[in-house]
Symmetry: C2
Subunit: 137 residues, 2 copies
DNA sequence: CTTTGTGCAAACGATTTGCAGGATG
DNA sequence: CATCCTGCAAATCGTTTGCACAAAG
């Protein structure tokens, strides 16, 4: 665990982010899970046992982590931002009727290259959003 | 123009939506533009000359249109829902740094089939979200 | 005439902000 | 020790809701 922590610290330093206990906790929490939690879910999780971070701090940590590319913001439901630490890339399906979200395995689609994008933009990742109707609708 | 209007009316009826002036106006407005306006932009546009619709009505019209599949909800910026009337499909690029959004032409990527999705879900469309860094970041 | 939509204003909920300490590099 | 982060509470902003009235089929 000590080793894990050092990796995280070094990753943050490499991105020129100040290493604070709260920022560390937010990033470590995201690295430890495979879902895409909301800011509030992270906050609740962190403060489960002892209070460690305040709401505004979690939001600002997430923003900092996102800007340097360590964390991805996932927009699937209106008005709600979810986050993940880019482990396990995958696509998403969303029912246009009830709004339910479902993960789609990465290898469901043949992968394609990002050549052909206009010069100037540097792509780092992509995902496919499929929209349609689910079983129950 | 009369003909156009009838098409819209019939489209709404075909989806079993009651045809009201406000709902008509919202859908017609979306059909007339190629960007993805927010609810508020549509509201402002509709009431530019004379007041035609109220805020709550635009929101509910958009929701009704979306549920029957006439209008698509586009989620690109946190906390903001944009809408389009599925003319001119395209992909999106988002800068992870400054959040700028840019359209990507549809034929930038080779299109792929949606076979391989688990049975039960009925896909209707898809789009690719590319994330990376833009020129200025 | 039954059902559904409209408009208004108030309510809501996720996120942001201002500011005064406090910690980091 | 200059800079950036934290915490708190209040503010903001897009969206939703409750309710009385009006309109659609």
């Amino acid at each position: 665990m000590k080793k894990e922590a050092n990796i995280i610290v070094n990753t943050l330093k490499a991105k020129k982010l100040r290493v604070t206990p709260q920022r560390f906790a937010v990033y470590a929490n995201l690295l430890s899970r495979t879902d895409h939690p909301t800011a509030e879910q992270i906050l609740t999780d962190l403060n489960k046992n002892a209070p460690t971070s305040s709401q505004a701090t979690v939001y600002s940590a997430l923003q900092a982590l996102r800007q340097v590319g360590l964390v991805r913001e996932v927009l699937l439901e209106p008005g709600i931002s979810r986050y993940d630490a880019n482990i396990d890339p995958h696509h998403h399906f969303r029912c246009r009727c009830c709004g339910v979200i479902e993960d789609i395995p990465w290898d469901t689609f043949e992968s394609f290259n990002l050549q052909g994008l206009r010069p100037g933009i540097t792509p780092e990742r992509y995902e496919v959003i499929v929209e349609g109707v689910c079983d129950r609708c």
